[in-house]
């Protein structure tokens, strides 16, 4: 149970109870079926209540859920073929970003995404999904490969942020991200971006500029982590809850602010409760959007891409 969040636990206990009762009924006590049905209705009501009024902080926790599907999990579920490509050809291979060639439905695409680790060992290798400049430069290499062979790009965003470290700074973390923003803005193939978990600031945006930007229902996307924001503005990291509220970082928030184009629905309780359904929804959304994007002339897409980002921001004149 330690992987589960506090607000998930009562629901899980309820579900376990239902499962146990069902087993009992199957084992020759059909009289309690009525009881099971009643409990199931109650559980459904409870689930709806819990997930309809999630606070932003609870959504942050869902986006970071240790059981949430990551990039590689989705690739496995949505691609009929995948060939991973490695390295930036400049310095190193960064396992915090995975990328390669994939077939999704009838589309052949270049897919790139940040990858978190599932356990301590994998997290060390993947640096908790926090890329170094090499990761962004590998992504750039693959963007260019996609452009050369006229393949659409699909990126899956899931990172706490770009790594703040000595090597990362020495090798130009800022330049690597800036370069990707610059190149993605004019990349002559369609780009579809989906924030699948955590959209952590510039580290997320570094593979996040596209024609269509979507978020999974319980993903978050923010200029700074709630903890970081709390530390700076409240002078207290433990005020992260308030910071999360103030930052307006949920999928519905971003849709309202005009920053994203749509929301990919997740199963009740979040993608980790039913990864298969989450992946099906994601796949359907990718195929639908690639359909529109690949039918649009690239000149039109590039013009619209520039217009899309020109509109971002609110000010008074």
């Amino acid at each position: 149970m330690e992987s589960w969040l506090d607000f998930e636990k009562p629901l899980l206990e309820l579900e376990k109870k239902i499962k146990d009762l069902k087993a009992l009924a199957d084992a020759g006590h059909p009289d309690i079926l009525h009881e099971v049905e009643k409990l199931e209705r109650f559980a459904e009501k409870k689930r709806r209540e819990t997930y309809e009024k999630l606070t932003r902080w609870e959504r942050v926790q869902l986006a970071r859920h240790p059981l949430r599907p990551y990039t590689n999990d989705y690739i496995k579920m949505i691609a009929s073929w995948f060939c991973e490509l490695h390295g930036d050809r400049l310095f190193a291979e960064d396992k915090a970003i995975v990328g390669g060639l994939a077939t999704i439905g009838d589309y052949r695409v270049v897919v790139i995404g940040q990858q978190k680790g599932r356990d301590t060992k994998e997290n060390l290798a993947r640096n908790f999904g926090m890329p170094h400049p090499e990761g962004y430069r590998k992504a750039l290499r693959l963007f260019r490969l996609a452009a050369k062979f006229d393949k659409p790009v699909v990126t899956l965003v899931d990172t706490p942020g770009a790594f703040p470290g000595i090597g990362a700074e020495e090798r130009g973390q800022a330049e690597a991200i800036a370069r990707n923003l610059f190149e993605m803005a004019r990349l002559p193939v369609p780009i579809l971006v989906i924030v699948i978990g955590e959209g952590g600031s510039g580290g997320a945006l570094g593979i996040g500029v596209g024609d269509v930007v979507l978020m999974m229902e319980y993903a978050i996307y923010s200029v700074i982590s709630p903890e970081g924001c709390a530390a700076i503005l409240w002078g207290d990291r433990s005020k992260a809850q308030q910071a999360a509220e103030a930052l307006k970082l949920t999928a519905p928030d971003l849709l309202q602010l005009g920053v994203i184009d749509g929301i990919v629905p997740e199963p009740t309780g979040g993608a980790h409760r039913d990864p298969k359904t989450a992946a099906e929804n994601l796949k359907r959304s990718i195929i639908e959007n690639l359909g529109h994007l690949t039918r649009t002339p690239i000149e039109t897409l590039l013009e619209r891409r520039l217009e899309k980002y020109s509109r971002m921001g609110v000010y008074k004149e």
């Binding site: 770009a162 790594f163 703040p164 470290g165 000595i166 990362a168 700074e169 020495e170 090798r171 130009g172 973390q173 800022a174 330049e175 991200i177 800036a178 370069r179 923003l181 610059f182 190149e183 803005a185 004019r186 600031s201 510039g202 945006l205 570094g206 996040g208 500029v209 996307y221 923010s222 200029v223 700074i224 970081g228 924001c229 700076i232 503005l233 409240w234 308030q242 910071a243 103030a246 930052l247 307006k248 970082l249 928030d253 971003l254 602010l257 920053v259 891409r305 520039l306 980002y309 020109s310 971002m312 921001g313 609110v314 000010y315 008074k316 004149e317």
Partner: protein
Amino acid sequence: MSWFRRIERGLKGSIKREMPDGLWRKCDGCGEIVYERVIQRNYWTCNKCGHHFMISARDYITMLVDEDTFEESDANLTSVDPLEFKDSKRYPDRLKAAIKKTALREAILTGKGEIGGHPSVLGALDFRFLGGSMASVVGEKVARATRRALEENRFLVLISSSGGARMQEGILSLMQMAKTSAWLARFSEAGGLYISILTHPTTGGVTASFAMLGDIVIAEPGALIGFAGPRVIEQTINQELPPGFQRSEFLLDHGMLDMVVSRPQIKKTLVGIFDFFSEKRRPAEEARKPAVLKTPPHIEVKADKDKLPPKA
């Protein structure tokens, strides 16, 4: 020089005057007491140690443009509070306080001017205004400045000094990175020349977007330049940072800058580069003439027959 008096005006209230009458000032670099007039004449650098004092956006631009050629653009753009953001203070109150303190409307000043006779568009961040942070207004003004440079065939110069994102504008602040980069990419595609000047300090989203995207990137000496701030890095890796880490000279050594130029030399450097690239900006008629191939003077045209390979 016309920028002389303006500098004096622009700095009032921003830098603590430790000496009476503001005639003398203690240098943050060497600790010496230096004569204010001398610093000013030295383009706001210390005449003893070369320390670069922080100056306002207007003073910086005035220092670069030819006298009386600067014309401000989009001065009426001001910030609103799209997130209704509140921490210990409301965002509109923070804005009001910043406006009152600096007499600026936002953290950036943009406009047109000539630099050594070259038509240019300039933009300078002002660190005094909420740390030069990336508000929607900042992104919009950089984007418009870039578009203007593109449409009017001007050179683009952006001077950065920023603590990074404007957290109170949340995700909209982040999106300014994409917006400014997209316009710079469009400008670059059209053959525009953009020179980025980094001053102390330039970190976060500004560095990770327009500041690092110059065709040529110049930094002032000793400026702190990076993606993450040194304190965040120290806390993350739990390790002391190497001396000079994230300073201009460190970035130059690591291949992240074209050059480190002290403030008194920056205009001269810009003009030199602009002169160099102006060849292709000659009038259209001239540009259409076929290029005349000239033999470089140091090559003898009459080939030395002895050195030619023997005929088969």
